[in-house]
Amino acid sequence: MIQYKMHLLVCGGTGCRASESEQLFHNLKNEIIEKGLETEVQVITTGCFGFCEKGPIVKVLPDNTFYTQVKPEDAIEIIAEHIIKGRRVTRLLYVNPETEEHVADSKHMGFYRKQLRIALRNCGFIDPENIEEYIARDGYAALAKCLTEMTPAQVIEEMKKSGLRGRGGGGFPTGLKWEITSKSQADQKYVVCNADEGDPGAFMDRSILEGDPHSIIEAMAICGYCIGATKGVVYIRAEYPLAVERLKIAMKQSREFGLLGKDIFGTGFDFEIDIRYGAGAFVCGEETALIHSMEGLRGEPTIKPPFPSVSGYLEKPTNVNNVETFANVPVIINKGAEWFASIGSEKSKGTKVFALAGKINNVGLIEVPMGTTLRDIIFEIGGGIKDGKKFKAVQTGGPSGGCLTEKHLDIQIDFDSLTAAGSMMGSGGMIVMDEDDCMVSIAKFYLDFTVEESCGKCSPCRIGNKRLNEMLEKICEGKGTMKDLDLLRNLSHVIKDTSLCGLGQTSPNPVLSTMDNFYHEYLAHIVDHKCPSGQCKALLQYIIEAENCVGCTACARNCPVNAISGERKGIHIIDQTTCIKCGACLEKCKFNAVFIK
């Protein structure tokens, strides 16, 4: 094996690939070969570094230099300057927005300083398509330890002691789930990995599968050993082609190494994994719906009990865990339950991955200990609000969660504190909003999603959410009444109390939390017929200020519906009944004569 002196790690996550990181990788590789350095410098593609805002990322080891927004043509300079002459390319380094100084080492960047990467430990560090790199980072050591030194009951006990809770949204204790499934009697049991990430704005599961697929394979095998299953199924979104490809490569390699298949480590334990594709249905995140989808049916949930741990896939006992949950398992076995339980808050142990997005400076994937405050996440790691605007709200938990405000910023987030604040952990989406976002529209946006994704099986969810959505639409159009507000709240509670599955039980959360925290915005829409953030089209008026209008006709020529009249060099007027509020006039006016009221 060649001992390289230097390593160039190029991010191969979806975000960076969209910014030509693949071409960058090839350019770096060619440049290395051209300079005859291929025995000294290694170039590899890794999984996501998390700092998507500044992608594509290139990291140089051993000096830990972190280059941001690297273009394919920068390859020549990186090799000539950094690799050959040992001088960092300053213009590609991250600039601390506060001090305006260049930061070379990611350890000193605000984005990484407060992070603790357990589930993402290998993402951005190893080549996900090379099993040897995973093994070099203690990969498959946990599986070996379980199979050769521990009984299934001991492993389950360790998982219970660790306090790990399901990261898919529910927060159910993982060890307990394994124990229940292990006690079910059957000739065949199944381990299912839920990789059908449906929350719009969350992409941690995909990043883990793209960046560290072996950790999932290893954890599923450990789970299989514990519950007595020899078959595993990964249920993954068909929209994630790169994750599927990396998972397939990883499965092939682990089979070749004897880490998957028959008689693993010579212990007589067999375990095989199969892949099933999702086809785009948010409700399939619910485990009974997911199982029906795996069976080739419509992904509709069924009443529990029976729980999947008793009767799941093909009516056999089935243990369903989410990708991020599995990613924690090998580390817990290697480092011990006590170590894991020492991290996090009282009832939520370990770390949580969040997909930080929206109106924030540092969009990306972050992992922090449970109990970190929202303030730390948004202002330290996230670098504050974009364009110096004012923070308004943060939405956690996706369509099932709620909007939290300024007053919640110092909550130490974990499963229970978020629920108590009227939101939820969900799968870890975290969307930051600024003063320009209308909270009624945001509630409507989530309801649009729920209405589309409701499977239609139970009426509270199918009909109730539709009615909620219609009422919100009415309010956004300025046609709402005060009675609608009472109805909204009432109906929300009915839907929550009577829906069959988690989708309906949580879908009114965005409505309730925005009503609780931004009641004045609802009132402004209803009473004053105004949208304070200027987002609701129906409540806007584009008006031409006579003083500033020079009669250049630019607005009239660009109006798609000919709503603007006026002579050349004369004052122009917008006919409000024809205006479709597209904003073209505002964009085209060079004299600041068009404004929104």
Binding site: R17, A18, C52, R276, G296, A357
Partner: protein
């Protein structure tokens, strides 16, 4: 019944896909995935062929096809355009981008232009939230798209 008549050869290919999955009803979703990647869409007559081979009702196949957003009964355009409507893209102005596509192409979401060149759809989060708002044309990702940039994207494909 749909009026499109697919070729004998395509029928054989669909039957081969079903056979590959042992004509098992439980493999319906896998069969549909493979068939859609072969034909680009799943019209009624194709669903009928599949139902015969997997020995289940056409209603069952139709129920599954229409349940999942990935499956479509309308042929996609030569250049399928998808606008990400995930939350991150939404708060960064994806709706205005979508409106601009609708205006320029003059088709609603889920439809294809009469010349068969473009189809317009929405999707939920491609995970490139750092580049929001995001538009996909085929597999190519366009990041930080502004309503103004829409015409340039369309132009790229109209000429090519």
């Amino acid at each position: 019944m749909a009026n499109i008549k697919i070729s004998e050869q395509k029928v054989l290919q669909i039957e081969a896909i079903c056979k590959e999955f042992n004509n098992e009803k439980g493999e319906l979703i896998n069969v549909l995935h493979r068939t859609q990647s072969l034909l680009g869409y799943l019209p009624a007559e194709v669903q009928e062929i599949i139902s015969k081979n997997l020995n289940c009702s056409v209603a069952h196949v139709y129920g599954v096809v229409t349940f999942y957003s990935f499956f479509t009964m309308i042929p996609k355009g030569e250049f399928p355009i998808s606008v990400c409507m995930g939350t991150a893209c939404y708060v960064r102005g994806a709706e205005k981008v979508l409106d601009e596509f609708k205006r320029i192409l003059n088709v609603p979401v889920g439809q294809t232009t009469p010349d068969g060149k473009f189809s317009l759809s929405c999707l939920r989060c491609v995970g490139a939230c750092g580049l929001a708002p995001v538009v996909l044309v085929g597999e190519k990702v366009y990041g930080r798209v502004s309503p103004d940039g829409v015409k340039d994207i369309i132009k790229e494909y109209r000429q090519g």
